[in-house]
Amino acid sequence: MEMVTTVIAGVLVLGGAFFALVAALGLWRFPDIYSRMHAASKAGTLGSGLVLLALAVHAGDTATVTRALAGIVFFLLTAPISAHLLAKSAYVVGYGLAKTSVLDEMRESKTLR
């Protein structure tokens, strides 16, 4: 049983670190701030969440598991809010989309400010 949890924790750690690396690469590879935000928010959250889940699987005691799960829930709650706020303020202030983007559905609502 402990062997199974150890292997699961190892796989989760590898997956979480992989997603964090993918998110950091997406910060460099994507053309504009909005797609970079899409990479960093989703893949970064998934990366740290998977590593925290690996810690919760690996550590057997209740206190660590509870705190790790609380951290996951908190991070899942706050990351979309901060990404949405940052994207909205960047769009309203006038940071443009990439040249290759084909549709800007929020252009009419730019007067929402």
């Binding site: 150890t6 924790a9 690469l25 935000m37 925290l52 810690l55 901060s82 990404a83 940052l86």
Partner: protein
């Protein structure tokens, strides 16, 4: 038994290497990032990578006291991102200001996007005088004193609405 422990050890080493690489990439993005939202986003990414580091070190050493630090770090990172977003919003429109001095790779895109931004600003401008132009009109329709007291009477009327 020991083979699974060896696998976990190897996985932790590889994960530490990958997290270090992503940490360095995020730091260089903070330094390099051509616009302010890029830097804020890279800071947010740094917080996420730091939480991952704390969790991996908790697995590696069994020392899970830093997990509370990770939760507090997530809270601080969230609040910092929200505050930076409000700051970007409060700083105002960008293209009339220092954005002409951004690196050439982004200014090409910015030049391609300048007509949209300009038209949007032209679209933005008439509604902005519009509400300001209406309170004197309302006060004019109220019309008790068309003299200098008209703007102060227009503003309370606006305030009640």
């Amino acid at each position: 038994m020991s083979s699974s422990a060896a696998f976990l050890d190897l996985a932790v080493q590889i994960a530490l290497a990958m997290l270090s690489a992503s940490f360095l990439l995020s730091v260089f993005k903070v330094i390099h990032g051509p616009t302010l939202p890029d830097r804020v986003l890279a800071l947010d990414m740094l917080v996420a990578v730091a939480i991952g580091f704390i969790a991996v070190l908790g697995i590696k050493t069994g020392y899970t006291l830093y997990l509370d630090v990770a939760i507090a770090l997530g809270l601080v990172g969230f609040l910092a991102t929200v505050a930076f977003a409000r700051f970007i919003l409060a700083r105002g429109q960008i293209e009339t200001r220092r954005d002409t001095r951004t690196p050439p790779l982004i200014t090409a895109e910015a030049h391609a996007l300048t007509p949209d931004a300009v038209t949007s600003r032209i679209d933005l401008d008439p509604p902005a005088p519009g509400p300001r132009a209406t309170p004197p009109g309302k006060s004019g329709t109220g019309g008790h004193e068309p003299g200098d007291n008209a703007p102060p009477k227009g503003k309370p009327g606006e305030g009640r609405r």
